[in-house]
């Protein structure tokens, strides 16, 4: 019996070890390395192992850091709000207005079609569309809506948010749709039986029960947006910066320690954000 228990223990450890090893090698180790490097010193040409707080001191002492973090949060928040509203609406429509499961699956797959091409291509295709002489402007002018092209369509925060929303809405749709599909329909009947109107059902039953999905979607969108650099670069015409661009600039200029320090602060920020989000909703039920 004792031997069996031991064996069971061994089996258990063996079963978790591949995943643990993968996580250790590809997640924990790199992060530890980044943490270590963030304390190193860099000159123009080389990085020197050291333990000093200079990188962090500079980071927290620089007004750019705050601007850029604020900007990153701004992008994350606005994108989140839009993807949530759109994602929730789409998921709601698919779940409650499409009766046949075949159609539900078909329409759901339709939503994923844009994802068959790469992120970058989907993003860059906006550029000719939104440009000064782009399709959007020329169409609006031919309709007589505009007299002269509007400039803020491209290379602006509008363009950045538009691209983010376009890129990441599906990450909101999928988890919300998934949770919504699991809502027992009789709950909605029960609510209606209790006299709830459509809006009341939405607010008192569907939204509370969809919260875990919303939260998972939120985590996806927020982390994706906060970690992004390429979308901001292309869609703002390099005129705006978020933390990702700060890091990518540092890397390009061989300032690995500084990039590491920024990355660590970003990582901490994202983790804290997720931590706060998780205080609101228990997503374990979903996993």
């Amino acid at each position: 019996m004792k031997k069996l228990l031991e064996n069971r223990n061994v089996t258990g450890w063996l079963m978790v070890s591949p995943l643990a090893a993968v996580l250790l090698v590809f997640l924990v180790m790199p992060i530890i390395l980044i943490i270590i490097v963030s304390f190193w010193r860099a000159t123009e040409f080389s990085i020197i192992p050291a333990f000093e707080w200079d990188n962090y001191a500079f980071l927290f002492g620089s007004p750019v850091t705050y601007t850029v973090f604020l900007n990153t949060f701004k992008y994350a928040f606005i994108t989140w709000a839009f993807t949530l509203v759109i994602g929730f609406t789409v998921a709601y429509y698919l779940t409650f207005h499409i009766r046949s499961q075949t159609w539900q699956i078909a329409l759901f797959l339709l939503c994923t079609i844009p994802f068959w091409t790469s992120n970058i291509i989907r993003m860059i295709s906006w550029i000719p569309f939104l440009g000064r002489n782009g399709i959007a402007n020329s169409t609006l002018m031919s309709w007589g809506v505009l007299d002269e092209p509007v400039e803020w369509l491209l290379f602006s925060d509008f363009a950045v948010i538009l691209a983010f929303v376009h890129l990441y809405t599906l990450f909101m749709v999928v988890p919300i749709f998934n949770t919504m599909m699991r809502i027992d329909r009789s709950l909605i009947e029960a609510a209606r039986d209790a006299g709830a109107s459509g809006v009341q059902i939405l607010w008192n039953v569907i939204i509370p029960l969809t919260k875990p999905g919303i939260m998972i979607g939120t985590i996806f969108v927020v982390t994706l947006v906060m970690g992004d650099f390429i979308t901001v670069r292309f869609m703002s015409g390099s005129q705006s910066a978020n933390v990702g661009r700060l890091i990518s600039n540092d890397i390009a200029l061989l300032q690995y320690p500084s990039a590491s320090a920024t990355a660590i602060v970003l990582l901490a920020t994202v983790l804290i954000t997720i931590g706060i989000l998780l205080r609101f909703v228990d997503i374990r039920k979903e996993l």
Partner: protein, 428 residues
């Protein structure tokens, strides 16, 4: 580590052993050696990386044809090139980089000095890269002039020396004078000064490149042209000068002067060709690319002069033996004229103009180098028409253009400070 083509099924070790025994054999029969080298060299693959400027597949094909070995090319943007040269010496054999990048990465010791006695056309290399003087009476422009970082003290030197020491850091291949590109059709009036970049007339239609080391120089040209400040050395600003320069541009940015910033060649072409931008910092082949789309675009010579840059080939410190020989052979071939002619027909200047001339028609030479009116169509190396009969190159003759260079792309002593300020500018 250097990589060899696998067709022969031989490992590198086998080959090196072969090479070594060949070398021993060569000791006894001196005559046979070069031929045996030549045979083995066919199995060599050299990995070259650099900016898109001169990383051309046509070159790789021609190398295979003329020299027999394989050249693998990787095109990267300026920052990535710097990063690779400084941090990954085993990822390349040949680095096709700019001189100001060389200044940054040479000290890292990832590249080896080259023996000029092994360079057949060394004596024909333009003076700019050797003494720094274009003509005996020229003055040397500000910034990181190529000759200041072109030589090192010996085979293992990580320093720079200011005289022709016989050991070069880079073998120069290409250089040019950069200025602003404009859309004459959308501007409709002459542009003669760098200060036009910040002219409110072009509000929302201007652009500058988001590569700090080059961008700051263009900014300095603008600031001087505006009469705001005259730099003692644009290539090596003080912190105050950096603050001043970026301050002026930050204000312009906040006022909406810029449509976008660009980082890669393609971006600059798209901005210009689509009409999003009518005046911006630009590189010569980008102008060519815009023109070949049928969109008018001028590489506008300006009164204040040009910002210049030079590029060359460096060799990885990891190279030795057969591959090193192949690398020398490649570099000698590079300077022997075919590539030079090719690059000249793109609008660059070859570092060895004499040999390039042999690979160009008289009309091409006249148009590109001497600034003469074209007698017939001037075609790009890929066959696109770039100019017709009677047209003259923007900026004119070589001596006019390179003679008007006022600064070189550079790395400042306060580079780190500048980079941080640049980040502020982008985030502003």
């Amino acid at each position: 580590m250097t990589k060899l083509t696998s067709q022969t099924g031989l490992s590198r070790r086998d080959l090196l052993k072969g090479a070594a025994s060949t070398a021993i054999a060569a000791g006894s029969t001196t005559l046979g050696a070069p031929m045996l080298w030549a045979q083995n060299i066919k199995d060599v693959t050299l990995r070259q990386f650099g900016t898109g400027v001169s990383n051309l597949n046509d070159v790789a094909n021609k190398v295979k044809e003329d020299l027999g070995f394989t050249l693998e090319m990787t095109a990267l943007d300026t920052d990535s090139v710097t990063q690779r040269a400084a941090t990954q010496p085993n990822s390349f054999d040949i680095a096709d980089i700019e001189y100001f990048i060389c200044k940054k990465v040479w000290a890292a010791g990832n590249m080896q000095a080259m023996d000029t006695s092994k360079i057949a056309n060394y004596d024909k290399i333009a003076g700019t890269f050797r003494s720094g003087l274009l003509t005996p009476t020229s003055t040397i422009a500000q910034g990181t002039a190529p000759h200041t970082v072109g030589f090192t003290s010996g085979p293992n030197g990580t320093d720079f020396v200011q005289e022709e020491s016989g050991w070069m850091t880079l073998i120069p291949t290409i250089y040019n004078a950069d200025t602003l590109g404009i859309r004459p059709d959308l501007i409709g009036r002459p542009i003669n000064n760098w200060s036009e970049l910040l002219n409110p007339e072009f509000k929302g239609k201007a652009s500058i490149l988001d590569i700090s080391s080059i961008g700051i120089m263009d900014m300095a040209m603008v600031v001087e042209s505006m009469g705001e400040y005259t730099y003692p050395d644009k290539g090596n600003m003080t912190k105050e000068e950096i603050d001043l320069t970026l301050g002026i541009f930050t204000e312009a940015k906040k006022n909406g002067q810029f449509r976008a910033f660009w980082k890669s060649f393609d971006e600059s072409v798209n901005l210009m060709a689509s009409g999003e931008v009518v005046i911006q910092s630009m590189w010569s082949p980008a102008i060519t690319a815009v023109k070949s789309q049928g969109v008018p675009c001028v590489y506008q010579p300006l009164e204040e002069g040009y910002r210049s840059w030079g590029g060359g080939l460096g060799i990885s410190a990891a190279l030795s033996g057969l591959e090193l020989e192949a690398a020398y052979e490649y570099i000698n071939w590079y300077l022997s004229g075919w590539v030079g002619g090719y690059l000249m027909r793109q609008g660059y200047y070859s570092a060895v103009p004499e040999t390039s001339k042999e690979f160009m028609t008289a009309d091409e030479w006249g148009f590109w180098y001497e600034g003469k009116a074209a007698k017939g169509d001037i075609l790009s190396p890929t066959g696109d028409k770039l100019a017709g009969a009677g047209e003259v190159r923007d900026g004119g003759a070589f001596l006019d253009r390179m003679g008007s260079v006022v600064c070189w792309n550079s790395v400042m002593d306060e580079n780190q400070y500048m980079v941080r300020k640049w980040n502020e500018f982008i985030a502003a």
